[in-house]
Symmetry: C2
Subunit: 555 residues, 2 copies
């Protein structure tokens, strides 16, 4: 089992020639490789894509075998991937998925980081995060729009829709966290982001996610102050440990206008630098004494959350950004850790009720023009949504592509299948250079059960019911998605979530059109269904308006 191999540099094939037997297998091949592209993955030499140790394949041997297998896979066969290892190829049929994936799933009583890490050390496991192990991560871009939508909504709720002259304080510039400075600036606010690893800060500067960087708190605060005075939003990366700097900022009497955090708190062994530790000590101790790292990280996170609670008590709108840091702090004794809300119930749920979520697509050709053409198509098909048009313009201007060009657009039930069919048409007519894949985050309306994040504080108390993501995966399989995945522990860590992914290929064929119409309708419809069942009025209305057939819910 080889996990670390710095000689490996993976880039997907581009252009319109096949290296597999069809686009239905070429697509997962390119997307797997794209997840490990040097501009996309956080630590490609370790197969780590993002989010702590979220991997695309279990080890390099498994990676090689997946690639070999996809190259030979027929269009009536299905490859099974078990925690990043290709375990079997079975005869299915043309309308069945080509790849079925299950990552990191553990029987509940054993669903802890402790047991997972034990299995992982034996080579029996892989952490798939959400889109790492399901091959539809598209770089920090994937999260920018969600982060932007969240900040815009925060501005609406707390500052009457105007974030100019305001600033956000946060930490973590990893795969997801890096979206924060860019999204904040897009939303009109400045951003101070604390990050402990110089390499992360450098990467964000290089890829245009971050405007400036400093190692000095004084300098950082001065830049922010000036930018707010000038109403000229800027983002600053500050090298340091959030757990040390937050209390210091508080003590100085400085108050941000918004506060959150995106360190990898969901993974106490690998994701959070303990207070007072050097990066070298952190790296060494993760190898030698992971238990000690975990204890120290948990204690530090408790202090971190206490600092957040202090800001909150001082009137700063504070939100948990989906990394489970409140739960860790609560388990470490911070009784009121859940006093500040999660971002989903606070800002995102109304969108989920309409089946709206992080819809995304990638151009397998590798040609940015293909994405620009789809951007134009989206505007054409959804003409009356200025917010969306504005997003597309800003995205084109501000977001550099990483790996295969891709786009994210929060759209919902009723729009997704129309866009998919239109893209498929464009492929058929030769308007795009190669097929396009369409997928989404597992963080979506019908695809996840995660009581500390996506399903926090559901109206009917059904936060922990995970029948929903399982049904979502089964239905996407039955509807003909090209690949389907079922994961455990994404976002918030082992024990805290179950979620499903799907990706579908637009290869321009009629058969693809039939599958696209089913999958891209059914998938968001399960989200409307789940929220309608929980009693949300908006979801019930949308279900009626879209004439969903929900026997036990609509009667």
């Amino acid at each position: 089992m080889t996990r670390h191999d710095p000689t490996r540099v993976i880039r997907p094939p581009m252009g319109s020639d096949l290296t597999c037997r069809s686009w239905l297998t070429e697509a997962p091949l390119r997307m797997l490789m794209n997840n490990l592209h040097p501009d996309v993955a956080e630590r490609p030499e370790d197969l780590v894509v993002y989010g702590g140790v979220g991997r695309a394949a279990r080890d390099w041997e498994s990676y090689d075998r997946i690639v070999e297998t996809l190259r030979r896979l027929g269009d009536d066969e299905t490859l099974l991937v078990q925690s990043g290892k290709p375990v079997g190829v079975f005869r299915t049929h043309a309308d069945a998925p080509r790849v079925l994936i299950a990552n990191s799933n553990l029987v509940p009583r054993w669903a802890t980081w402790e047991h997972f890490n034990e299995l992982d050390r034996k080579g029996l496991a892989m952490y798939g995060q959400m889109t790492a192990g399901s091959w539809i991560y598209i770089g920090a871009q994937g999260i920018v729009q969600g982060t932007y939508e969240t900040f815009v909504e925060m501005g609406r709720q707390h500052y009457a829709g105007d974030l100019s002259g305001r600033w956000l304080l946060t930490a973590g510039l990893g795969g997801m966290g890096a979206a924060q400075p860019l999204a904040a600036v897009m939303a009109g606010a400045s951003c101070l982001a604390i990050e402990c690893q110089p390499s992360r800060i450098e990467m964000r500067l290089r890829t245009g996610y971050l405007d400036r960087a400093t190692e000095s708190l004084d300098e950082a605060l001065a830049i922010i102050e000036q930018s707010c005075r000038d109403r000229a939003p800027v983002s600053v990366g500050l090298l340091g440990n959030a757990c040390e700097l937050l209390p210091e900022i508080y003590a100085r009497g400085v108050r941000p206008d918004l506060l959150t955090d995106q360190t990898s708190a969901h993974d106490p062994v690998n994701g959070y630098l303990p207070k007072g530790w050097s990066l070298e000590r952190w790296a060494a101790m993760r190898e030698q004494a992971p238990d000690q790292v975990e204890d120290a990280a948990r204690a530090s996170m408790a202090e971190h959350v206490e600092a957040m609670l202090a800001f909150r008590a001082a009137g700063v709108p504070t939100v948990d950004y989906g990394n489970n840091i409140r739960q860790v702090a609560k388990d470490a004794g911070v009784a009121n850790a859940f006093d500040f809300p999660g971002f989903v119930p606070a800002y995102i749920r109304p969108l989920f009720c309409r089946g709206i979520g992080p819809f995304r697509w990638a151009a397998l050709s590798g040609d940015p023009e293909d994405i620009y053409r789809t951007d134009a198509k989206v505007k054409e098909l959804i003409p009356d949504n200025p917010h969306l048009h504005n997003w597309l313009d800003m995205a084109r201007e501000r977001i550099r592509f990483q790996g295969l060009p891709a786009r994210i657009c929060w759209v919902g039930l009723g729009d997704r299948h129309r866009l998919g069919l239109a893209f498929n048409e464009m492929v058929a007519r030769g308007e795009l250079k190669a097929p396009v894949v369409i997928g989404r985050d597992h963080l979506d309306s019908g695809s996840v059960a995660s009581p500390n994040r996506e399903t926090e504080a559901m109206r009917d108390g059904s936060d922990a019911v995970s029948d929903w993501p399982l049904l979502n995966a089964l239905l996407n399989t039955a509807s003909g998605a090209t690949w389907v995945s079922l994961h455990h522990g994404g976002g918030v860590g082992m024990g805290y979530s179950q979620h499903a992914g799907m990706v579908i290929v637009c290869d321009g064929s009629d058969a693809a059109a039939r599958r696209i119409e089913r999958v891209l309708w059914n998938d968001p419809a399960t989200g409307v269904m789940r929220h309608a069942d929980a009693g949300y009025e908006i979801a019930l209305e949308v279900a009626r308006e879209k004439q969903l057939d929900l026997p036990g819910i609509l009667g």
Copy 2:
């Protein structure tokens, strides 16, 4: 929400006329109803089929809506059932399942009886057990062969293959447990089964699973002693509490030749009568103070296991029969509760390595002759297996059908699809009066992760990895099973297992033949794959012999 309705008496339609639009929807309708047939279900008025509170539908309203929906469902539509409630109908295609089911699934950190019961009281949950909520329970018969195979294997390992003059001591004559006395007698041993509910004993006498009954321990022991002396196996139901009687039997110096237990220990609130309690008190307290029932039941189970350990120490071969009683006792402080093994690693795993497990089918016509004809076909197609022929003969002679006539036969990879195709042919040729459905228990080779039962003590330590049952369900969906289910907590209770079911219809069509060939090959093949991945030599051999395509396992 109506859960109790004594006016309801459900019997499936029989014969060869459709009440739905096709056999693909008629089949789940008849099998759902069959699960609730008065001769099949333990408490049909409460929708309880077996195994504690294993239900077929969440409540009577949900039952009615499922029935209505199946009656109108088209052959390009799929019904989603979420914990026994029909939540949605979606457009899929002819080769997709007609019903997809997810029951009792909870995000791990919340996967406890406590949280489940809270949801259940709010009407948000249903316990599906294994085949109750997935509509392929066929009465105690379903378990008889597994129990018989287990007892035969116990005889082989401990008594040189000869159980004559020997006796088994056990408890629990519920839906599954009732198989024990019959299977013991079939295997050549006498059986003393302790059961606390008179109604259960009466039902087993009436249906031929039990030979005799008594309320007196003296009388029971006398009958057993006599039968052993005469080498004339007999089964005796003894009314009483196992937790009280086991220590007494031990104290008297009486030693059985085999010892096990099938009370519903997996469900401490509903499944185990505490020591010293009357049935009336038990029933009343379950309503009023479930927590107190649970505490008392756990303490009693600890004493029960201590008695089992004492017998074991005295040399009596003792085995946990899959009800999680060791775990309950361990949690209650019995440190050495796991000193006696579970029945799977002890007796069943070698079969699982070949993909052999509780394969079963039912005649939708309701005509026993249909089953006798399939029995003959099995003998014809598997001519060289005297053990199997013997089983079929005994089953025909000794096992009364309950509800729709059905048969169980432990067969594996390579045989299952041949039998399925042959049955489908028989339907096509009019040799059977109506279509047949083929399914299996969730307790099967590739469909379950349950570290205290089916996956106890796996060779590589992967007991708790539940990617396997999830992949099994996804693959069966992709292969075209007629209905597919994913459950949590079956057999061993909340938190301890995840498992999948599948049923496929033989309607005599060519399309069905193609689906049958795929599903009944792929499904057991996932079991061989799972055991090959864990390093079992037999499974690796079978995988090679059957030329399975297992890239990451066989290389």
